[in-house]
């Protein structure tokens, strides 16, 4: 897995789909492919409240990506310095092996070019010390750009707070 992680605070996510549009405008993606998705789940009645969750699905940037292994041309690559998985457009032949291989449905088909596109965590921004578009502009500050280690610490902290009442 890349050294980065996007943490989604479910309590703050309002399912507004802004992250998807932030991504599309930043990466200038045509209609069709989506690098990240908000998947609404529910509503389900829990103690008389119609609870809904909105699950944020970017690329997980796996440590051992299915997509890079499946790619016959070396277009799908993992950056050695931080583990970001991305497509080198000039090498992609549009064989769609990565689409078949990825268990999460992350690689996206670009009808206009006949090549695959995918989330690269906005690596050009990351290289400038900035955060990906989806995180930077998240309407509700639900998405956080942290390391995988920080993510587990954050989760523990939240859990501890949630079970404690004064």
């Amino acid at each position: 897995m890349s050294i980065y992680y996007i943490h989604q605070d479910q309590k703050r996510c309002i399912g507004c789909y802004a992250c998807e549009v932030h991504c599309k405008t930043k990466n200038n993606i045509p209609v069709g492919p989506r690098f990240c998705r908000i998947i609404p789940v529910g509503p389900k009645m829990i103690r008389d409240i119609p609870r809904q969750q909105f699950i944020f699905m970017p690329c997980f940037h796996c440590e051992q990506p299915w997509c890079t292994k499946a790619c016959p041309t070396g277009a799908m690559q993992k950056r050695s310095k931080d583990g970001i998985v991305f497509v080198e457009q000039s090498l992609c032949v549009g064989c769609k092996s990565c689409i078949t291989a990825c268990p999460w449905g992350v690689p996206q088909w670009n009808q206009e070019t006949g090549k695959v596109l995918k989330c690269d965590y906005c690596k050009d921004r990351v290289d400038k010390g900035l955060k990906p578009a989806c995180v930077t502009k998240c309407t509700a500050h639900s998405l956080k750009w942290i390391s995988a280690a920080e993510a587990s610490a954050l989760k523990r902290e939240k859990f501890a707070k949630a079970i404690t009442e004064f």
Binding site: K11, R12, C16, A18, V21, K24, T25, T139
Partner: protein
Amino acid sequence: MGETSSVYSMCGMCAVRCPIKVEVEDGVVKWIEGNPHVPGIEGSLCAKGSAGIAFEYDTERPQHPMIREGARGSGKWKKATWDEALDYIAEKLKKITEKYGAKAIALADRSGPFTDLTKSFVKALGSPNYLDHDDTCAKNVNIACQTLFGYGRGELGYDFANTKHIVLYGRNVFESLQVKEVNNILDALDAGAKITYIDCRATVTASKADRFLMIRPGTDYALNLALIHVILKERLYDVDFVNKWVTGLTELESFIVPYTPEWAEKETGISAQEIINLARDLSDAKPKVIFHGGWMLARYLDSFYSSRSIYILNTLMGSIETKGGLIIAKGPKDAGAKPLKSIGDKIPEVKDKIVDADMPNKSLGTGHIVNLYKAIKTGQPYPVKAFFAYRYDPMASLPDPEAQKKVLDNLDLLVSIDVNYSETGWYSDVILPEATYLERSNIIATQKGPKPGFIMRRQAIPPRYDSKPAWEIFTLIVERMGVGQYFPYKSIEDIWNYQLESTGVKIEDFNAKGSVGLSKDPILMGRNDLKFKTPSGKIEFVSQTLTKNKFDSFKAYVTPKKPEKGAFRLTFGRSGVHAHAQSQNNIYLNELISENVLWMNEKEAKDLGIKDGDKVEVSADGYSGKIKAKVTPLIHPEAVFMLHGFGNEIPPKTRSYKKGLRDTKFETGLLETIDPVGGGVAYLECMVGVKKA
């Protein structure tokens, strides 16, 4: 990479106008984010705001002035230069003024912080007829608020960040969203605040609530009366505050006697015990309690009294001008600063009265758009023959577009000034394309609130098409009408310098953050030193204004109509993705939601043989249309719901053309159906038939 620049400005994708930062590379807008300096924003931007780039680079918007060639609405246009279009308008205006007087010219917009320009334009032409859209939005709320406090609803801000309990009546804060408000409310929830959400439909806001009360549509007022009943009976109110600041408590006490929780249960479907519990919980949290008075509350015939009862509840909780409650907005003067100068100061006062000043049997206040339509239709009290719709689309927002066409046909001149092709624009005589919010600067706006200030919308790139900013359009018309001395401005900087003249603030002061604050800390009046702008200086439960105008302060409850079998009350609302009827054609927003669906209750659907995803025919009084059904237990059986703003009928907007249905088309015969006191349109007095298509 070539030349880059960045500018602080204000979004224009909806009427919230969030502060933004725009980054430009080689003359192309590459990045828009929420203004990082503004608390509650800090980079955040909603989907619509981000899609501003797609809007800017869209070709499906007006690209040059257009003069109508065929019949109104026929879609036959002549491409015009600005000189041709403005000369055409001026010639018509001169003829109209000659025959009917300048008062026969009207302009309506969607209100907001830049109206000094539009009001001054109308004044310069010599007409009293500046109106806004508020009959279709917050008019009931605004007037209800004024009758209690003497302040309009915009002058009572909500201190969500510090509150303990928020009560929302169909105010779907997480979908019909304002970014700053969303974050303030989420921060409050993180700190342990509660939300009680009351609606006839389960929205995203309901999903975040601590209490969701599914209410029978049209009975909010009954719920409020019962809450007041419990609060007074159990003395759950802030006694000190009410004794000190309220007039008319005794009258309220005797009025409220019959409105017991048990009575309200039968009206609302919410159990009496639930109502009692809610009243007690709220009292425990007082005064850090916010009952949201309503944003868009043009809904029912009693929405004025419903909103008024909400503000009475706030008062009973003592939550006025206190942390975590409702805080009276402060202006520059309250911060010891000088206000902006008004463009209109240099223009002589208009002697004629606004068109609805003396209309018989009228609702409170003046400037009601519904009354303008009446005057256009009847010629009474005097004819109105020219109508400018400035970034305003009444044909998409007021009920019954077909009835509206008949009214508008009485006009000699209908002009639409907009960045979009609007339904009204398509029916008008001239379309003047305004430069987009990324292509124009606006006049400086005052931000009233606990921390008042000034804010600026600043041009990021030159107009991509043959369009102009509003200030220039209005200046050019005023010049052609021979009164150019009232708009002696050659650039937006001329106007800014004039506005700022006595403030001590300079244009360059806006460079650092996009706004200029006038107070470091929030300004709060002392608890014993409150000022209300009512005739008595108190919070008037019994309102002198209402009494003077022969309206009740407390209105007996009338139970709403129950739809017949197979018929439903048509309700409508917003998602977080679209703004009114103006964004459905945006490539990215259209990709997210391209058509609306009809929410209907699962039991009712079953009775009608309708399954989730089936196409259904929705009909009302000779109009019908087809749409997919979303069958759910999470809407009240008496109601159906659709998102507002779909069903565009303007061919150049190809992505949204004829996609989905438009709620206002079903509201046949409702153009003059208004709340009799507040004047807000009673949109939800609309019953539709639904059957499987």
